[in-house]
């Protein structure tokens, strides 16, 4: 028998039983369905203590890394502290740098105490509650500030405000970090395949630098897509990364070009990636960008042999309306 701290209460889990049963028995309302580790409805997060391996069987490496587990498969051997999934932090951040990049992208650097993995996303919340989700391009171990890359839309309420009114020294609320699109170092030889279009590049830029920093050994190939060459807003940074690391390859792809530009492939990024990698068995993939693009990339990569467990996606859904929280 072991005890588990859940929120403000303590439950004991008898041997032969599991945490889900104990929590339900104690009157907590926990979502659940199959009670057999299949439906994942009862996913929780451990804050302290050692989980039995069975509690994480079948989860993605990125979920395991965040301490996620299934309450129905958890028969704790020692004391645990757990919480509902997902819990988020809400911290204050101050703008320390603001820079306009090519392709109508605004780079913001924010100083904050947020705990995160490079490639996860946060909500930036304005004083009046207007909020938008952005991925983190920064790597906490490499730079002290959070970095987000914001696509400027002509009628974008948040992006226009950030471009015109937000100033260095101003503060924002940051909620997060969310998502399981980040690097984990459990298999450092595995070939990594990354693709993104537009500002989908921002989390990928963080993920690549995180992998290289940790000494990832296998080949890493990033495909960056834009409409025209001028919109490849991280071209310089990625080229210098590619010359610094022998196992990192950067392939810029544009949809339109009148003349074949030097070192850039022209065409559909999905087709170009497929031509490079007709067989993706054993590879790990990260895809970020518009939902249609990401879903196609995920499907083609899965059909070409990669395991679902190894495909990590972040879909950028544009906000149509202002949402006041």
């Amino acid at each position: 028998m072991a005890t588990v701290q859940f929120e403000d209460s303590m439950v004991s889990v008898a041997s032969g039983s599991n945490l889900l049963e104990a929590l339900l028995h104690a009157g907590h309302d926990i979502p659940n369905a199959c009670r057999a580790g299949a439906c994942q409805s009862c996913m929780m997060q451990v804050l302290d203590g050692e989980l039995p391996a069975a509690a994480q069987q079948g989860l993605k490496a990125t979920q395991k890394a965040q301490g996620y587990f299934l309450a129905c498969c958890c028969e704790p051997q020692t004391h645990l502290k757990v919480q509902r999934n997902p819990a988020s932090q809400s911290v204050c951040a101050v703008v320390v740098d603001k820079q306009l990049l090519p392709g109508r992208v605004l780079r913001l650097r924010l100083s904050s105490e947020l705990d995160y993995r490079s490639g996860q996303f946060v909500n930036l919340v304005r004083e009046d509650g207007l909020s938008r989700a952005y991925s983190l391009a920064s790597v906490p171990e490499l730079e002290p500030e959070l970095e987000v890359q914001i696509r400027i839309h002509d009628d974008g309420q948040f992006s226009q405000w950030a471009l015109n009114d937000l100033a260095v020294g101003d503060s924002l609320k940051v909620q997060g970090a969310f998502g399981d699109c980040f690097y984990t170092s459990e298999n450092m030889q595995q070939p990594l395949l990354l693709a993104g279009t537009g500002t989908g590049l921002s989390p990928l830029y963080g993920i690549v630098r995180d992998a290289l920093r940790l000494g990832h050994d296998g080949p890493i190939h990033l495909f960056a897509g834009a409409r025209v060459a001028d919109d490849l807003y991280l071209d310089k940074e990625l080229k210098s990364l590619a010359s610094a690391y022998r196992n990192f390859t950067y392939t810029p792809v544009v949809l339109e070009a009148e003349i074949q530009p030097d070192g850039i492939e022209v065409g559909d990024i999905n087709q170009i990636m497929k031509a490079h990698y007709p067989d993706t068995k054993g590879m790990r993939a990260y895809f970020c960008g518009s939902p249609e693009r990401v879903q196609k990339l995920r499907k083609q990569t899965f059909l070409a042999g990669a395991s679902m467990q190894d495909i990590h996606c972040d879909q950028f859904t544009p906000s149509s309306q202002a949402v006041a929280a």
Partner: protein, 119 residues
């Protein structure tokens, strides 16, 4: 005598089967269009629950869930259901499961046919 689910290798066997089965289903022109608009991560979790059930494992699937989960799919008929069972059998063969066990699993699969086809 251990259960069919245990003989197959339990949850680890289901994990091994999910990728293979789902890939076959998506690559099958007879049924792949039903999966075009679903979230693949969510679908993989559902495939796992389905495989757990047909493997004779612990599950809470009911006929009502099966009915609710499929009734929005237009034109779903026996051909589509047969295609799924075919992909299931091919997955099991690929994993080295014996013919007698494949038959037992197909029988469990067949038991939900009327619920899936809403009749």
């Amino acid at each position: 005598m251990s259960s069919l689910y245990e003989q197959l290798g339990g949850e680890a066997a289901v994990d091994a089967a999910v990728d293979i089965f789902y890939r076959k289903v998506l690559a099958d022109d007879r049924i792949s269009h039903y999966f075009d608009t679903v979230d693949m991560d969510e679908q993989a979790v559902k495939q796992k629950a389905f495989l757990t059930m047909v493997f004779g494992g612990p599950h809470n699937y009911t006929g009502k869930d099966m009915r609710e989960g499929h009734k929005h799919l237009k034109g779903l008929n026996d051909t589509h259901f047969d295609a799924v069972l075919e992909n299931l059998a091919a997955t099991l063969t690929e994993l080295g499961v014996g013919t007698d066990k494949i038959e037992q699993i197909a029988a469990i699969g067949n038991s939900v046919r009327d619920d899936v086809l809403n009749r």
